[in-house]
Symmetry: C2
Subunit: 261 residues, 2 copies
Amino acid sequence: MAVNSDVPRRSMAGRALALLGTFDGGHPRLKLTELARRADLPLPTVHRLAAELVSWGALERDATGYYSIGLRLWEAATLAPVAGRLREIALPFMQDLYETTRENIHLAVHDGFDALYVEKLSGHRSVPVVSRIGARLPMHSTGVGKALLARADAAFVRAYAERPLPRFTRYTITEHARLLRELRATAERGYALTNEEMTLGTCSVAVAIPSDGYTPAGALGIVVRSVRTDLHRLVPDLRAAAEAIGRKLDEAVDDTQPGRA
Amino acid sequence: MAVNSDVPRRSMAGRALALLGTFDGGHPRLKLTELARRADLPLPTVHRLAAELVSWGALERDATGYYSIGLRLWEAATLAPVAGRLREIALPFMQDLYETTRENIHLAVHDGFDALYVEKLSGHRSVPVVSRIGARLPMHSTGVGKALLARADAAFVRAYAERPLPRFTRYTITEHARLLRELRATAERGYALTNEEMTLGTCSVAVAIPSDGYTPAGALGIVVRSVRTDLHRLVPDLRAAAEAIGRKLDEAVDDTQPGRA
DNA sequence: GGAAGGACTTCCACAGGGTGGAAGTGGTGG
DNA sequence: CCACCACTTCCACCCTGTGGAAGTCCTTCC
């Protein structure tokens, strides 16, 4: 018997989703037992349910018994607005930025208290970074995060700053007052900067994508080696790209939706 | 009462998945009624189930009542091997190809009777193409498709060629014997070519990614305007990229999996 | 070689979550 | 003002999922 006396007894669909939810960046492949333990479900239940998910294509199971996310689920997920419309529109502009910089180009959206990375371009010559498509990173220590936060409404920013701000390097901003000051400066300047706040040796510029019709709001950023001192020179291109993306998004919204997004 | 006397009574999880399956490239957003009709489920059932999916984040519902695929499902799907490992490894090489050509760079895998597009890079100057990340296109009319098909085992190729081959342009190969001949030529040549077989005005080169440890098998392709006649010149770079990707995939497989993929 | 342990699979009688027709609500357009 | 349509809520019946227990099949260790 599970000890979920407080949990209001998950439904079948809820259990199926719980199984999907057990996968994360550190655990993209799981064995049956791990799946059951992480989802806190009895083993036979997981066994039966997982088999059904596999038969539909929501999960895959390889010869060694490991489960991973299935191809068909991935395929369905490409239809999410964030992956479809936003990415599709942004990509050519991100390519342009990549060509001129050959550095990591990030596209992230605001979700909960995190910046969720929707697209990332990088080449062999780019600095290695911790981001990954589908990854969540904090907003106070990343370029795109600060750009998003600087645009968020005051109540949200206050809520964000009142939580403990995890430290990643000795340059990470962890004092609430300093974060608020930084965000004010970002808003006035019109773009966000970071300097070794997430990873030593890298710094970044980012701007918010000015689209009023589209949610969740996005931001575009570039991460470079900190030895490069010409971060500011990237701003005009970055801003032009963000504005062009925003314009296209608004057009696309008008096309498909009579109401708001 | 639904008329599914032949369908073996779908389970709850099956119904939830059926809802996700109602979305496709032509219908990325659906209203409740459409969802119910397309999934062939009673409206109250869909209503209840959809609400549960929304609360988890597998679906989203906007102010106008339209459902679409949810952010959390998209996030989970980024953990699929095809999106995670394959894409991540291939991307820098695809970037290199993009820089030298500024044309559409495609990465596709073999799934069922289709080429499933896993990644696509394109800029403003690239020819417009019908592909989309997550899209499925036939294997006999696309570069990546032919590259995959030329490597598939004989039984599969026979099964493929025995089905009717849909025609897209007057250049599409629709005769079975000719397709088999073409595939033989592709295998000998070591790369696939198409010439206005999917879309008038575009042609393409593609090569299979030579990885023995990794399934599903992938292919890398470039689509350019047909006025460009130097398609063959792209082959060395393309092949080098595919080989490098294959090598990295095999390393990655060794790292994480004692057995086979 | 054999015993112990662990991971996975199968079984089945019980029970509580899901079902879906029907009725209610709200908005729209004629 | 009414008719219509899309969505939402309700509830008593009953079928589907439940999960402990037992079975199978490796792997490891002595």
